[in-house]
Amino acid sequence: MKSQPIIQLQGLTKTYDLGEIQVHALRGVNLDIEAGSYVAIMGASGSGKSTLLNILGCLDRPTSGRYWLGGDDVSTLEDDALSIIRGQRLGFIFQSYNLIDQLTVVENIHVPLFYQGRDLEQCWDECVKFAELVGLGDRLDHRPKQLSGGQQQRVAIARSLVNNPLMILADEPTGNLDSQTGREVLEVLDRLNAAGKTIVLVTHGEEVATRAHRVVRMKDGFVDSDVLNRKTISTAATARPVAAAAR
């Protein structure tokens, strides 16, 4: 029996109403993502990739269609409810790290827990554990400005893990990094996935995409192709391609 996918998208559309013209960013996306998979979403700009990411990240609501995240339909939730979902079920990694400048490493890692009402003192050990996991156990008191780009991105990864999310959404995580540090960051993601974390990665880079078990390509608001990555397929036990949305 197949396990219940943690993400199910059904006939997802998104239309931006710009007054005179309507922009159809998504025209009906169907996509299932199982727990523990490592999915890369690719596509040219204007393909609906960013819109899809925003909806997956519960930052935006679809115009129509359904989005089940961890068994709950989140496509029609109110703003506050979406905030709670983001805080509890999702981890974000951004291209430009997006750390908060006035906070230290450990405080930055703590932010998602702060909004769940947990005081830093209560969960200090947890936050430190994740800092150590990404190799920054000796920089707990540093501010983002005192760290290199790679280190900052690793703080962001630690932060995305701290709330034990169902899925980590990474938006071009290596876009601002040189290839060496980019590779290091990707290796961290590989290890996390190997440890069972579900990762959805949005990228332009083919090389980055090759690390994923499954590559979904977007085009004109549809899923253009959805293929398992041959190189990694043998290790991707739980990844399962889903038929792309019909043209």
Binding site: S83, I84, R86, G87, F92, N98, F114, Q116, R159
Partner: protein, 432 residues
Amino acid sequence: MKPLIPIALVRIVQLGVKSLLLHKMRSALTMLGIIFGVCSVIAMLAIGEGASHEAQEAIKKLGSSNVIIRSVKRTADNSSSGQGKRSFVAEYGLTYRDAARLQATIPGIRRVLPLRIMRDDVRFSSISHPCQVIGTHPLYPEINGVDLLAGRFLTETDERYQNNICAITLSLAESLFTGQNPLEQEVKIGANYFRVVGIVRERGTEQKRPQSGATEGQTIDANVYIPLSAARNRFGEVIFRRSAGSFEAEKVELHQLTLQFENPESVETAVPLIQRLLERFHERKDYELVVPLELLRQAERTKRIFNVVLGSIAAISLLVGGIGIMNIMLATVTERTREIGIRRALGAKKKDITTQFLVETIVLSVGGGLIGVAVGVITPLLVEQVAGMKTIITWWSVVVAFGISALVGVVFGLYPARRAADLDPIEALRHT
């Protein structure tokens, strides 16, 4: 796990302080508006309160259950008296019969204290000192608030026998009798010798009495009190005055009558009666009525208006301070759009963002308020030292000023905080 609200709030305040410390200069400048606002509220009210307190004390000293009637020389009187019998003597003022009539007819009167006041020099051995000679009754200290320092005051016996004795004020004693005991010494006033029997001190030396004409306003620290009967007999009722080539004489029986009533309530009913009585027996209005109770009420009304004016000025400065804060917070929100986006993505609700920015504004305004209170408490003390003005810091002015500063934080923080919370997280994240 249920979040502990106080701890969460402490964290939010810590976060706010941390964010504000990131731009120390900016935060300090922003607070200045509130600091000056709060400071000016407290300082202005303290100075106003001090000034009106002094005025009220002076009035209270006159006694709220007293009515004071003074003889007044009208400038027009000279010409009118010239029409009839030509005389050098200006005759005006209250008479002994007035005193008797008032005492007999006005209900509620407890005592009537007549005063005769003359300006003269008092001499002891070779020292001469200008002074006020006050002919009065033994009741004087009780009604006018005079402390007896040594010896005794005038008595009924002195009054009856027109004794040539006197009580003098401390400052006069000091200038006349340097290093000697003034008691039982004889001083010369005009052509008569008076024996000093007591040393007194007037409470509140600034009080002014009607002086016969031009010499009005001199500090009346140098007083000689003699029995009224003695004053009448030794000095007569006509007072001559020579000044720079001119010569003046006036006939005044009594310079002042102090009516003491049973209680302040009977004052109010008595005042119209007194006026009617005096009007009947005085063709010209050569007297004035001073009702301390009315003056006190007036002073209180004035003070209230004064406070409203000061309060409005201070409120405007707080308003300006608040607008300054709002301006900076709006700039801060724009500057930190990205941070807002991050926090929203990581699970912050709109409410959390509102709280965060509101707390920052409140920290600014309350911090400014606290500094303002400190400066506002020090300023009146400095004013008291430097300008010699009396100031009174009322606890309510501190509370009100501080309260308003906190309120300013809430009111002017709400809009920027709302703007921050209403940002679209996606847009905010994209913001550079």
